[in-house]
Amino acid sequence: MIQSKKEQFRENLEKRHSAAKFFYFLLLICLLIGFFTLSVLIIDLAIEGGPWLRSQLFTNYHSRKPEEAGMKSAIFGSLINLGLTGLFSFPLGVGAAIYLEEYAPKNKLTSFINININNLAGVPSIVYGMLGLVVFGRMFGLFAPDSWLVQLLNLPVGKGALGGLQFNLFNIPWLEIRLPFGRTILAGGLTMTMLILPVVIIASREAIRSVPNSIRDAAYALGATKWQMISTQVLPIAFPGILTGIILSLSRAIGETAPLIIMGAFTYVPFLPESLWDQFTVMPIQIYNWITLPQAEYRVHLAAAGIIVLLAVLLSLNAIAVFLRKKFEIHWS
């Protein structure tokens, strides 16, 4: 016979409720610490940099006189770099994600690729900078005057800074191609593409995977081919999620400094890029540049103003992402 266990319960309500309260406050403090840090940062930036947020910041290049110094080339460089990165990473990332989610057979090769994509997302960005320099910037030295490829094909390569192979694709004047890409804004965009590609792929896969299988079944049952099913149902449904992932990746890319320093963006650029083959610089590098200067106007005020501009671009990108997600969100019943 099993005895009643009633008398073995010790309810101890007081202690349990106070533990609940304790953790409520503990968690609230965690939140407030983060919030406080961010507020201090923003207030400090506003005090130091606010008065320096003037039109010269957007219309002038870096100058020896702080009151005339601006970051025009860095702002344009960042935006062009961002555009190129988006342009390259969207088709590549979404394509890879579609393949992996919809086509890839479940075998060891696929799971090997999966593991590697997840690992690549965690590789330090400076490694991508080195990779970008070797692959895009120098192209393994394949177009240097003494390389085996040049000697084998007897290519007409030039020497010096603008060396390498230059030609116009299909003889169209503005379709100029330079091999290797060198330290140009094109190479910078491609390097950034490699940097964010794993994250874009992961986010796109997530969005594609969240499309219910019942939708795929419905399309198939109506006589859709696989590609019709993907292009007319899966991609439109996954699109807001994919777009959000790409924008958030881009907002990571805009703050990246290390890979572009290696790519040669750490220079004084007193001009706007006119083609993909121009040198460039970006906002975080310009800010870093100013911080290394001894005068307080650069070190404190202009740097702070630059950070405000950078943060403004970053926050507006994130705001666009949130807006798109809200606007196109599908409420499955």
Partner: protein
């Protein structure tokens, strides 16, 4: 076995077996599905009813590990033959699923989808109206064709899915437990709709609900676990006859036990 005279079969299975990897789901099923009738497939959970119905439009092809043995003959052709394109088969054989699955698009787009992907050249507005009328949904949605299909009620969504299937002008409509997610009133509407549709179409319906099978179908196939291989849970056809016969005077003891609720 089938009692009616002059009954033409629309689809016939010959020794149809399906395997998922190494496990067998159904074993050597032979069925003749009569044209312009409603055929119900009943049986306990996990006996392979859905597997069977998914053979009729080759939806099983989408499961990578699935393998089909035997034949499914539809308009004098084994649809599992090597020269048959499943995309072509699925256009001719519509399917309605257990959970209503409208596309997250407008009512109009939902109906027009099947026609669009199959390069329909006729008048789309007419096709949409005709399909919605056939599915007894037109009067409820005619003023809001651009409303999202997801905004409809569950029963309306399921009728939308039926209308969507009708829009590709199929001959045969497969329904995999179409009312299991619906309330009794919506269920009744679907059943009434099936009666209207059988004038023009043939319907195969999988159902858990024995009352539904007895109310709505002309023929009933009872599928159950093979008693001699009970560990493997392989589905076999136990009995197939006119619904009135199955429910009043079944030939097999197992059928009687199942329909009277003694197991399953």
């Amino acid at each position: 076995m089938l009692q009616e005279n002059n009954l033409e079969n629309i689809i016939t299975t010959k020794d149809l077996s399906v395997f998922y990897g190494t496990t067998q789901a159904i074993h050597k099923i032979n069925l003749n599905i009569p044209r312009n009738r409603i055929t119900a497939i009943i049986g306990p959970s996990g006996c392979g009813k859905s597997t069977l119905i998914r053979c009729f439009n080759r939806m099983n092809d989408l499961v990578p590990s699935a393998r089909v043995d035997g034949e499914v003959v539809y308009s004098d052709q084994n649809i599992y033959g090597t020269e048959v394109d499943p995309v072509h088969i699925r256009r001719q054989i519509g399917m309605v699923f257990q959970k209503p699955n409208p596309f997250p698009k407008s009512v109009y787009e939902n109906i027009a989808f099947g026609a669009k992907i199959n390069n329909y050249k006729g008048n789309m507005d007419e096709l949409v109206e005709k399909s919605l009328r056939q599915a007894a949904l037109w009067d409820e949605v005619k003023d809001e064709l651009d409303k999202s299909g997801l905004a409809l009620s569950g029963g309306q969504q399921q009728r939308l899915c039926i209308a969507r299937a009708l829009a590709t002008e199929p001959e045969l409509i497969l329904m995999d437990e179409p009312a299991s997610a619906l309330d009794p009133i919506a269920t009744l509407k679907i059943e009434e709709l099936m009666q209207d549709l059988k004038e023009q179409y043939t319907i195969i319906i999988v159902t858990h609900n024995m009352q539904q099978a007895s109310r709505a179908s002309d023929y009933t196939a009872f599928i159950s676990i093979d008693r001699t291989r009970i560990e493997e849970r392989v589905g076999v056809l136990v009995e197939y006859d006119q619904t009135s016969k199955i429910f009043v005077n079944p030939a097999e003891k197992e059928t009687e036990d199942y329909i009277s609720g003694r197991f399953g």
